[in-house]
Symmetry: C2
Subunit: 161 residues, 2 copies
């Protein structure tokens, strides 16, 4: 799915439903001009984001992302996924300006499968493994084309509204 | 331990032994002017780094780091720790310009224990859990003062020299 395909779906990004006071996250805050501004959207039974990494986020190997970027994308995408799936479970539609329950990461595990390229569209997919009380378990992949570069598993905790 | 204490030890940073071609990592490359330039030093039976996070790396909560930064610091510190412990096991002294074996992350697990403050010195400590063949298991903590903000566990893989 390309950026234009994503835009064409006209599905609001989960992060765009975060209140202004909490929208400065370096990874996904729309109000942090220096950050990644990741946008995660609930599409079918997945939450999907697309991101192309600028060259400055190189790792030790030229042309490949540093591991921290991969972990960052999975972390922000995971908590957004949890918020999106919880909203759906509560019968709340994701829309800009409509407050959603927020989740924070308790545990994030990243398995690095293959070097993550810079300057290439990456697709991050999140699936809900379970949602019980305040706990959401999210499984993720981060891919470049057909190659799965990393997988992630997150336990996210719902904050009191 | 303060920055001046660390400098006073005059222990070379493990990342300063990385060859120029591999010293552009956003997390710890000395040649990436936009990056974090983390410096990890082998001191006793630990590898220790200190880092103070600039305000731009805020998370969703004002004054606290985004989760991706925490994961980034643990990722770079973990692979540096593996390189440092492996060098010691091989009887090689860490010194700028002396090539060390490099490690890459296979798996990183981060447990977020308490919000990580911005603008406050953070201390990251790595301990060797085991070193067998090409595999190094590293355990880490990231603390602000007496508070452990996060713990990390890494499996790092040694690259062929």
């Amino acid at each position: 799915m390309t950026d234009s395909d994503m835009a064409a779906t006209a599905v609001p990004a989960i992060q765009d439903a975060y209140p202004d006071a909490f929208a400065h996250c370096y990874g996904c805050g729309r109000l942090n001009p220096q950050g990644h501004q990741l946008k995660s959207r609930l599409l079918g039974d997945e939450v999907i984001a697309e991101f192309t990494a600028p060259q400055q986020y190189t790792g030790g190997f030229p042309g490949k992302a540093y591991g921290g970027l991969v972990a960052s994308l999975l972390d922000c995408h995971g908590t957004a996924s949890a918020a999106g799936f919880a909203a759906r479970a509560d019968g709340i539609e994701v829309a800009a300006g409509r407050p959603l329950s927020r989740f924070v990461t308790a545990t994030l595990k990243v398995d690095f499968k293959s070097p993550t390229p810079l300057g290439t569209p990456l697709v991050i997919r999140g699936k809900l493994k379970s949602l019980e009380g305040r706990k959401a378990w999210i499984e993720m992949t981060l891919s470049a084309g057909e190659t799965v570069c990393a997988t992630g598993e997150m336990l996210a905790i719902r904050l009191p509204d």
